[in-house]
């Protein structure tokens, strides 16, 4: 029996986990800051070295990681409902492919970081519009058609990325590869991602019971009074914006958007009223911790965070996939 009380408990618990992940991200690093000093560094004197490191370097990066992890998990959960396919992720419709092409083109021409991000966002939106337009070609909009169009566009983008990598000068390759694997050291700003995460959740939550029905089929949802066409359009736009913003901020971080909704679903069920906020918080916490590991494990060398989420994600996903389905008598 779904109850609001249980939902609030789950969300509160995950909010604490998220907060803890942010504390770890602020404290850990080549200059360890104890939990006690953290408060002083954040709120007190700005002039100490610890304050400078925490405020100028770690806080923006941790918040960017949290926001992007949250956005990717939210977009993944929405895509899984939209495509009614548990294997869908935010990138399945070619959004990250488009973003990669845009960002790598900008890098190839030696454009500054801001324009690389702009290129990524433009590429993501272009891919989104292309898939949306093609999938709607005949007016109908089946899951299979949307999925196939997305996969094909993503494949095309993959080829374009390979082409760019093969013609790019040697000295740009490393930056390109890091971008493709997802990397937070170039995160310029966290505000757009954090704001979109809050707005996106606020926009999706009122419709989360409608989404529960959409997951059970268009006919069932329409019979029960859900405006399916409008809802699907809204979900598509929100998931695409969330993915584009996350990819623009951090590059294509893999697996967060696929794994986190599944982990949350296994733990608490598929009620979108709990799943959406819970996945956002869990995704944020996971990416924050993964990024903290990425910059501390082999410090001063930094690993691309996408490598760590994938290293955690692949075994977890394989485990989920081969795990026997939850049966159970009552």
């Amino acid at each position: 029996m779904p109850t609001r009380r249980r939902a609030l408990l789950v969300i509160l618990l995950l909010a604490l986990v998220g907060l803890a992940s942010l504390v770890v991200a602020l404290a850990a690093g080549s200059l360890p800051v104890s939990a006690g000093d953290l408060g002083a560094a954040l709120l007190g004197d700005r002039s100490t070295v610890a304050a400078e490191v925490v405020r100028e370097l770690r806080l923006p990066r941790a918040l960017a990681a949290f926001a992007c992890g949250g956005l990717l998990a939210l977009a993944g959960a929405l895509m899984q409902v939209l495509l009614r396919n548990p294997l869908a992720d935010p990138y399945v419709l070619g959004i990250s492919g488009g973003a990669s092409v845009g960002a790598l083109c900008a890098m190839l021409f030696g454009l500054p970081l801001l324009l690389v991000n702009g290129g990524a966002f433009a590429g993501a939106l272009a891919a989104t519009l292309l898939v949306f337009g093609l999938a709607r070609g005949d007016g109908s909009w089946t899951q299979t058609r949307l999925l196939l169009t997305g996969v094909i566009v993503a494949a095309g983008c993959g080829a374009a990325v390979a082409l760019i990598l093969s013609v790019a000068p040697e000295n740009q390759l490393r930056g390109m590869l890091f971008w493709l694997m997802g990397d937070l050291s170039h995160a310029v700003t966290f505000w757009p991602a954090l704001a979109l995460l809050a707005l996106g959740l606020a926009a999706a939550l009122p419709f989360s019971r409608d989404l529960n029905l959409l997951a059970r089929g268009d006919l069932t949802a329409r019979t029960l009074g859900v405006p399916v066409a409008r809802l699907r359009g809204g979900v598509y736009v929100l998931a695409a914006l969330a993915t584009a913003t996350a990819v623009t901020t951090t590059g294509s971080v893999g697996f967060v958007g696929l794994i986190v909704p599944h982990l949350v679903r296994l733990a608490i069920g598929n009620d979108q009223r709990v799943l959406l906020p819970a996945a956002a918080l869990a995704g944020g916490a996971l990416l924050t911790l993964a990024d903290t590991l990425a910059r501390t494990v082999v410090a001063p060398q930094q690993l691309p965070v996408g490598v760590l989420t994938a290293l955690i994600g692949v075994p977890a996903f394989l485990y989920l996939l081969t795990r026997s389905p939850r049966g159970g008598a009552s």
């Binding site: 029996m1 779904p2 997951a215 059970r216 089929g217 019979t223 029960l224 679903r265």
Partner: protein, 256 residues
């Protein structure tokens, strides 16, 4: 008194198939209508049109005296329910959660299911012989149990008009009769209207007041079962000769 469902001059096509042309009938509260026809004649399409989920080529459908446009999707969902032919379970869900989906049109945007909703859902589960299975995963149910769960969700919706697409699919004989008796009881005691697609003529004879035959190419026949279900019309309907065998209790049809 306005009838529950009122159909006027209805033309329904799907692709190149003409389902109905100039179809008109009324369903009063407490009446049960069985729709019969061969595969692919558009029974499901007609049901969707009657549910206001699909626009007709021409004509009108009124539910409780109002068009679906005037009612709006939410009000319509409070008044009529549809049992689909297929049930999609892409994600995990418990039996109780699935039965509770029927409460959706009765809940506000921020409202959660309350005690009353849970009581209605549990009653509905008990009515279809699924009491005690509330916490089972939907995936673990048999085909017949899954079908009865979908009927339970429809009961929890508490519509005035039930539109059922092959409600007896996957059910054993015992449960076929139980479901038909349950629907008949609701019609008799609560005055709900029942429109159901059936393939069993003899069950239709016993559990429907009226019948609508879809012959294909837009030709239809609607009326009281006693008048509409004859050996002649049914032989024409299915393209196979049927014989009527009367006994002391009623009429029965068997393939000749």
């Amino acid at each position: 008194m306005t009838s529950l469902l009122s159909v006027r001059d209805l033309d329904v096509n799907i692709g190149s198939v003409r389902v109905a042309a100039g179809l008109g009938f009324d369903l009063a509260a407490g009446e049960r209508l069985a729709i019969l026809g061969r595969n692919g004649t558009g029974k499901t399409t007609l049901l969707a049109t009657l549910a206001g989920l699909r626009a007709a080529e021409a004509g009108s459908v009124a539910l409780c005296g109002e068009s679906y446009e005037a009612l709006g999707a939410r009000r319509a969902a409070q008044l009529r329910g549809l049992l689909p032919q297929r049930h999609i379970d892409a994600f995990q869900s418990t039996v109780l959660e699935t039965a509770l989906t029927g409460r959706h049109p009765h809940l506000g945007r921020w409202q959660w299911e309350g005690r009353e909703d849970e009581r209605l859902a549990r009653e509905a589960l008990a009515a279809v012989d699924l009491a005690g299975l509330g916490s089972r995963e939907v995936h673990t149910l048999s085909g017949g149990e899954r079908q009865r769960l979908a009927i339970a969700a429809l009961l929890a919706q508490q519509p005035r008009l039930y539109l059922l697409d092959e409600p007896l699919a996957h059910l054993d004989l015992n449960h076929q009769i139980a479901v038909l008796e349950l629907l008949s009881r609701r019609a008799r005691e609560e005055g709900v209207g029942i429109v159901m697609v059936l393939h069993d003529i003899n069950l239709a004879l016993r559990h429907a007041d009226r019948a609508l035959l879809l012959f294909g190419e837009g030709r239809t026949l609607e009326g009281p079962v006693a008048a509409v279900l004859t050996a002649e019309s049914l032989s024409r309907l299915y393209g196979y000769p049927l014989r009527e065998i009367p006994d002391g209790t009623g009429r029965h049809f068997v393939p000749a």
